[in-house]
Symmetry: C2
Subunit: 253 residues, 2 copies
DNA sequence: TCAGCTTTGTGCACACGTTCACAAAAGCCT
DNA sequence: AGGCTTTTGTGAACGTGTGCACAAAGCTGA
């Protein structure tokens, strides 16, 4: 690599691997705990254990940020907290808007973890007039009609979608139209967004299904239902009793 | 996208790659929607679009389950729903216990998505006597003291931890001791478990931090804070405002 | 100053995951 | 029947992520 006006420590050049980015918050959390306990320095071995990864991976991850360790000693806790925070962009304020104040939205509004690390719930929104106006976690729930204005006035940069699945794409479109480029989606739906908009999803149902898969493997209950004969593939009727009947798409609001 | 990750060798003998397993629920959801609309067959292209992946990946994923498609035609929707359900172990019942009935536990207990696909909330548990005895979503909240008995009697196979972070490891240990080998952890902590126990985590704070990282990149606000001089490394005060003051561990319970 | 010990940073090899691109299969039409 | 069209299933190339193992760097003590 040559031309780049790299006024930065080595690697910062072009991009930290995505897998590394996903682990930085883990390291940050472990470091914060150490910081609170007044621990001044930590070795890659110790920090890795606290974060639940192996030490080589941790060292490689940190090396993408720069050479912030001291050989023979370890890493300075406070300094590393700062460097990771800066890299993740947590040294600035991130106003968040939660759209869809049902059970989950309600829980998130009261969620302590939200307020930390630079994230701040700037607005609660809902489309239902029976909900708007209520006070939750010290905030008044606003109506979706005000979305664009709220995003603009409060400089909201991250939208959290906790609506029922059928409403999610519509909400997403409005958020994007209002200028938001980062979305955290709790609705069990695939959102389509234009290039440049980041969507991350948190999907309870999917996590459970993955667990079920492994659980089945473990209990050897694997083939409980005898492998259905490949039979006439074109067969019309669902081979399975009811399973086809299918679920009500989740989120009873 | 939730984080989680179940560490595992992956392609073990007759195994399905972990990345594929994580997508099967997505396909299943898309197929269920098609099924409801009465669509009889679907091409890899269409299904891939509905699931938000590319078609080659989808075909390869499905090929791990077997050859369930018909060239020139596509896949039989009902049949594929069954095959994926069976592979994921959703043709059987999975009783779930939710431990920690704070805001989030409460929301999950009422969460419709839980009930679908073979998952069934079998028990709600809490350590606080002020909470136990309450009825939530038609169920009585039981005390942690009854955990072992409940797991045994109701054949609970999956534990969901929604306690404050400091309590999570203890709860986890008890779940494992009671024989549970699949845990979904919402508490912002790294859980350590013995070999053979699967833990997946859902961590709101981490997801937000990952979004913030990308958001920062996009808005070019990157280097706002000037590179802190390496300075006296042992510096006491956290260079960042309050960041160090780690979060109040979630869930005001 | 120098030997000895600790721990980082990273080159390298390998495992895993994604994408391309195409032959083979299946249905359809004349 | 045979050619044409569609679409699957998969080999192979490529990219990303992981883990080992070790040289280099820094500290400590004599």
């Amino acid at each position: 690599m040559a031309t780049g006006r790299t006024e930065r420590p080595a690697h910062r050049g072009r991009g930290i691997p995505e897998a590394t980015v996903a682990r930085l918050p883990l390291y940050l959390r472990a470091l914060s705990a150490l910081s609170e306990r007044g621990v001044p320095t930590v070795s890659s071995e110790e920090l890795a254990a606290a974060a639940g990864v192996n030490s080589a991976k941790l060292r490689k991850d940190l090396s993408y940020l720069g050479s912030y360790g001291t050989r023979g000693v370890g890493y300075d806790v406070e300094y590393l907290v700062y460097q990771i925070s800066r890299e993740l962009g947590l040294t600035q304020d991130w106003p968040v808007a939660i759209v869809g104040i049902g059970n989950l939205g309600h829980a998130l509004a009261n969620y302590g973890g939200f307020a930390s690390r630079g994230f701040r719930v700037a607005a609660l929104l809902d489309a239902d007039r029976a909900v708007t106006g209520q006070r939750i976690a010290g905030m008044v729930v606003r109506h979706m009609d005000d979305l664009e204005q709220i995003v603009r006035d409060d400089h909201v940069s991250i939208g959290v979608i906790t609506t029922p699945a059928p409403a999610a794409q519509g909400v997403c479109d409005r958020l994007v139209a209002a200028g938001i480029t980062s979305i955290l989606n709790f609705a069990p739906t695939v959102l389509s967004v234009p290039e440049g908009v980041d969507v991350r999803k948190v999907d309870l149902s999917i996590e459970l299904q993955i667990l079920a898969f492994h659980e089945q493997r473990k209990s050897g209950t694997d083939g409980v239902a005898p492998q259905l004969p490949p039979a006439a593939s074109g067969a019309a009727a669902s081979p399975v009793g009811d399973l086809g009947g299918d679920l009500p798409e989740v989120m009873p609001a």
